[in-house]
Amino acid sequence: MLAKRIIPCLDVRDGRVVKGTRFINLRDAGDPVERADFYNREGADEIVFLDITASVEKRRAIIDVVEKTAEVVFIPLTVGGGIDSVDFMQELLNSGADKVSLNTAALKDPGLIQAGAERFGNQCIVVAIDARRKEQVDPEDKLSWEVYSHGGRTPTGRDVVKWAKEAETLGAGEILLTSMDADGTLDGYDTALLAAVTDAVSIPVIASGGAGTLEHLYEALTKGKAHAVLAASILHYGTYSIAEIKAYLSEKGLPVRPVKN
């Protein structure tokens, strides 16, 4: 059985991690390499770096981060944030990333998904979608979600389910789906959103946004039918360790890769 994946996400700005308080046992909690290795040792199934560097000139810092991480962490590494060309994808993959996550640039030019998939294979291309629930005029109306770009700041008018399907057709290997309504609330994932997308595509969907309890993770993987959960706050602030998450999911009958594998 394919294991459900637990994926810590590290926000990186100018080559430094910007979130988290629990890392008392690290020399330097802001060092992305140390943090990635910490989660690797804890039993993380993959690591995602989200580069939130604002200036284009400092973008190269992430290449260095990936290169150093790949020397010591031997689990899949995904990099997202500001990737807008096949050449930059190539640089990231050459430096040790396994996948790149496309968002705003893919919305501007969906051909970028196809170009990346043709050059590197579908397995390399993750399409990240930031989704916000549309207001229901009539409570009887079907739920729907709109895609936002630019880190969730700009509404695009696109429907999330349609965009996910398009991304799949263009060659995306996975969808990283963030509920902006749930993100940061710790109130649970938007399982209706997850189910709507997982039902519409046949590629794996990674759930993101809203996890506050172990039950939330379980719900994303069962009700939401997600293949993996991205977790930030609950890991960074030490609410749960990866071992605790995996023990819980395993007890509930979900397949997970044991921490001591």
């Binding site: 059985m1 394919l2 294991a3 994946r5 690797n40 199934d45 790949a70 020397e71 010591v72 031997f74 689990i75 899949p76 993959l93 050459n94 430096s95 040790g96 396994d98 590197f120 294979g121 579908n122 397995q123 390399c124 290997g173 996975e174 046949s202 590629i203 794996p204 293949h227 993996a228 890769r257 044991p258 001591k260 594998n261």
Partner: protein
């Protein structure tokens, strides 16, 4: 120790395999030189991407003969992912890409490369259990709970189907059991990525190193 050559198949995970091999104290070199490959003590053959692309790359780089040479000489040889699929007779992958592409592999192991049937999410991405068919040094010291196998990282849409059951070294369940590791003499192949499979993957690479060390030149 005999020289270990990682074939430069220009694939995205080349540097990861190199780093992982170095991490477990193997001393690999990356090469696409037919002579270097032909005289290698052992070979790791990585690959990611499309079968046709990789098959024509071997042809274009003139590596077919050297690869056959190391294989028939019984040098330890490990194909990873597409690198394993290329050891087989043919792939049906080209049929999905218009049909005009190269479909023949190195034919070192008789069998076919097939696409996962509809109904399961494809590509098969993530950690899945590899159950060894029997005890083997390649899978030694992997915390196998009650012989259930160990988890490794997969990402692929095609799987191999060896004609002979004796070539199956490990199987994995993805809706049905498929072959995830093969062995024929000193020729090994794994569908998963040991270089991305955490401690279990590193141990497997170290085990391959032991196999190299134990093989007489």
């Amino acid at each position: 120790m005999a020289s270990l050559v990682i074939i430069d198949s220009e694939c995205a995970n080349l540097s990861s395999i190199y780093k992982a091999a170095k991490y477990v104290n193997l001393e690999p070199i990356i090469s696409d030189d037919p002579k270097t490959i032909a005289s290698a003590g052992a070979v790791i053959f990585p690959g990611v991407g499309s079968f046709a692309h990789a098959a024509s790359l071997i042809y274009r780089k003139n590596l077919t003969e050297s690869l056959h040479k190391v294989i028939t000489a019984g040098k330890p040889f490990l194909g990873i992912c597409l690198g394993m699929q290329l050891l087989f007779s043919r792939s049906e992958e080209a049929n999905y890409n218009g049909g005009n592409e190269k479909t023949e592999g190195l034919k070192a192991i008789t069998g076919e490369v097939k696409r996962f049937p509809a109904g399961m999410p494809v590509p098969h991405v993530g950690w899945n259990l590899v159950k060894p068919e029997y005890e083997h040094p390649l899978f030694k010291n992997l915390n196998q709970s009650a012989n259930k196998g160990a988890y490794f990282y997969f990402t692929h849409s095609y799987y191999v189907q060896p004609e002979k059951r004796e070539h199956i070294l490990g199987q994995t369940d993805y809706g049905f059991p498929f072959t995830s590791a093969v062995k024929k003499g000193n020729l090994y192949g794994v569908q998963f990525h040991p270089e991305k499979s955490g401690p279990a993957g590193l141990r497997l690479l170290a085990n391959f190193g032991k196999i190299i060390a134990d093989t007489k030149d």
